[in-house]
Structures are given as structure tokens and as C-alpha cells.
Amino acid sequence: MSLLLVRVDDRLVHGQVTQGWGSVLTPDRFVVVNDAAAADSWERELYESSAPDGMAVTVVALDEARARLEEWLAEGEKLIVLLESPADALRLIETGFHFTELNLGGLHQRAGRDRVLPYICLGRDDMIALESLRDRGVSVECADVPGCERKDLFTCLGNAANGT
């Protein structure tokens, strides 16, 4: 079984994910864990039809995610898991689904968020969820595309606070 990547990205499935990470990690399936998309058949079909050749995209709700993910992993599938927010990542781990690394790949600017990196803007709720994930032993690494420099989120935040 192989959990290739657990990624927070507010665009969920898009080119950086399918063409960038997909071409490097070659998953069998992208799993979008998102309640809103799972509840809307048109949105679900949109995401699921965006799969590159040879890969699948499947949308699941948070409360069914653990069972579905464990089932695919037990069958030997290679997975990339996509979440819209740090809060959803925390909710996923609270269901009992275990992961030790979280990729922050894209959280865009909006009201109440501060820019940490060009592709990462975080608000208070995001920070609370990320700190909770860290306290549960999850390392949080920032990387929008596979070839970029990987940066530990809390090291970045510490450097910013120290002015270094």
C-alpha cells in the first residue's frame, strides 16, 4: 500500500496536481476528500472527468473517507489525497485515518489570511488546525510543485517571526 501524498490545496484537482505531482508520483488515483463536492453530483462528475489518462479521480465525503482510503490502500493502489483546507486535513486525521506528512500546496489570498509563501496564505483557523496536526505528529511541508524547494511550515513561520 502506498499513500504518496496528502495535500491541502484550495483548487483541489488542477494542473499542478495532475500534470505536476501526477507525472512524478504516478498515482493510480487522486482522492478528493471534500463534503461540498461529494454532495453535488455535477461537481463530482466534473472532478472525476478531469483525470489524466491511466489515473482515476474519485470524490468522497469526509465521513466515508477513512473506509474508502483504507480499502484502496489494502488493494495496493497508490493514492494522492487532496483536501481543501487544513481544517479538513485535521478532520480526516480525527476520523482515524493515519498520515504523518502533510503537503501544503496552495492556499490563496483572501480576507483574514496572511501570506507566508507566494502560494500559501494562512488565517487563524488554518493555523489552529495546522498546530493541532503538528501536535499529533504530522510534519507540514510547503511545496506547490514537485521540483520546488520543500520548506517546513513552522520553520518558515519562525523565521518570519524572527525577521530572518
Binding site: D10, R11, H14, S49, P52, H108
Partner: protein
């Protein structure tokens, strides 16, 4: 006039429009739009602003099937019955669009572009 919106990554859309103008001269209602710094929530508004109230229809061109621009265009066309979407944009496609859009309807032009550009992929 049928409006064209080239909605792509980085500066590609604007570059496509400039390339079309280098062949055909200045173009009205041909707009390059980048997804840079747009999240999923802000893309529909950016597309709506670019589309305006075009009276003869809108064709949105995207580059990457399944990408964020493609998704936003699909969502936009679902809301706007006068909008159509074509992906895998290339320069011959846009030249054909710009040179023929005054003579046919948007649905007919879409079909023409699909056929013309499919046949145009060769080696």
C-alpha cells in the same frame, strides 16, 4: 462579435492574443486571462468580468483538460447559455476563431474550430 477569452496559466493567454494580433492586427473582444493568484472561488468572477454582456456569444479557450481553468470554464458555461468552452487551445485554433467569428454563429464556429484544429494536429 463573438467574444473570445483565452483563460490559461501564467501569461500564456495574453501571449496568445498578442500572437494573433501579430498575424491579423488589433482584435476587439479577444481577451487573455490568467489564473495566477486566483483561487477556485474567485475564478468565476474573473471570467464573468471578462465575458461582460457579449451579445453574440462567448467562446472560452483553455489549455489543459482537467485543470483549474478548464473547471472554471465548465462551471461558467453551465451558468451562461451564451458561452461555450473549447480546450487544448493553440495558435491555429485562435487564428481560425479570429478570422471567422464575424461570419458564423458561436455554436457553428465552435464545431468548425473543433474539426479544423483536430485535423491540424499532425507530424
Amino acid at each position: 462579435m463573438i467574444r473570445g477569452i483565452v483563460f490559461t496559466h501564467a501569461g500564456l493567454g495574453q501571449a496568445f492574443c498578442e500572437a494573433v494580433e501579430s498575424f491579423l492586427g488589433p482584435q476587439e473582444d479577444l481577451i487573455g486571462l490568467s489564473n495566477a493568484q486566483l483561487d477556485a472561488e474567485s475564478m468565476p468572477g474573473a471570467l464573468a468580468e471578462a465575458a461582460g454582456a457579449a451579445s453574440d456569444g462567448i467562446i472560452i479557450f483553455t489549455a489543459l483538460y482537467g485543470g483549474s481553468c478548464w473547471q472554471a470554464a465548465e462551471r461558467f458555461c453551465r451558468q451562461r447559455p451564451d458561452a461555450w468552452h473549447l480546450t487544448s487551445v493553440n495558435l491555429p485554433m485562435l487564428l481560425a476563431f479570429a478570422s471567422k467569428r464575424a461570419t458564423v454563429s458561436a455554436p457553428a464556429l465552435l464545431e468548425l474550430l473543433r474539426t479544423y484544429c483536430g485535423e491540424g494536429v499532425r507530424s
